[in-house]
């Protein structure tokens, strides 16, 4: 890629915030760099999973982690052309506090020819105690390579 860092980040932001499901959940790309991404999502009545406590459904936190993990893979210097989730495991440490924004940070700590490995964590306003952590594997789709078949 010959893009300047700032331009790459701007394009990534547009790209991620235009994904319909991410948009529906109100996700915002806060930061992105070489193999890492920070994405946040506001609390919303629509996302509540437990009506008696007002706590956001785990699935919505998974969606945030998944988007953030995918963004981290896409932003890796090896520049995959695209990515899809192979598997994602989420561990829930505590319920997210109702009314607070959730922030996910993901790091793509290793990329092979075909797979990106990601770790992520999510916090609300209490930045000392994670709400959830995640580990996942993502596909690495290469920009069309020369006809060589491995």
């Amino acid at each position: 890629m010959t893009l300047k860092a700032g331009e790459k980040a701007r394009i990534a932001k547009q790209f991620i915030e235009a994904i319909p499901f991410s948009k529906a959940l109100g996700m915002n790309l806060d930061d992105i760099g070489d193999g890492f991404a920070v994405i946040s999502m506001p609390w919303s009545e629509d996302l509540v999973g437990d009506p008696q406590s007002g706590v956001i459904h785990g699935g919505a936190v998974s969606a945030l982690m998944d988007t953030c993990g995918g963004a981290a893979v896409m932003s890796h210097p090896d520049a995959p052309a695209g990515t899809a989730t192979i598997d994602l495991r989420i561990d829930y440490m505590r319920p997210a506090t109702p009314g607070q924004r959730i922030i996910a940070r993901a790091e793509c700590y290793n990329v092979t020819r075909s797979v990106g490995f990601v770790r992520a964590s999510a916090f609300d306003e209490d930045e000392d105690r994670p709400v959830a952590t995640a580990a996942g594997a993502f596909t690495v789709e290469r920009p069309k390579e020369k006809e060589a078949k491995a």
Binding site: P20, F21, E45, D46, G49, H57, G58, S62, T67, Y92
Partner: protein
Amino acid sequence: MNRPRPEPVQVVKERRDRALELLVKGVPYARFMGIEFDRRGDELTAIMHYDEKLIGNPFLPALHGGAIASFLEMTAIIGLSWQTLWDDIETGRTAAEDLSPETMPRLPKTIDFTVDYLRAGLPRDAYARARVNRSGRRYASVHVEAWQDNRDKLFAQATGHFLMPSRNGNGARVG
């Protein structure tokens, strides 16, 4: 044999459908995601109605991995909670007519959840069923399978562990 006369079918159906409706309608995220549950006896099938907002890759197009994870986790939690609720209302431990949004048992809490994405989710309705592999007093393990056109061609599956709500009377909040 002097077994009691079975209840009229309509009474049985109404009791079960009411309990299921209270369980599902109480979850705002299910409504937001367009997720409903179809019941045949005690077996539930979750349906996620296709909507454009569920898309994650507009170029293919394909469902968002997060939408799929949400669908599977919802299926697991409702399926697990339904199993307990079913036992309670069918044994008469809980009178179905006494159920209300305020007295519904608390939902299980997810400890961990792992999703395998087997193939891209197509832009159409999706279905899922949960199987409770183990349900103890405190912990439960649940497996979920999801498909679209063919029941045998899963597009995603998941396994999760859950913390069961404490059972002190009618959904009393403890801890």
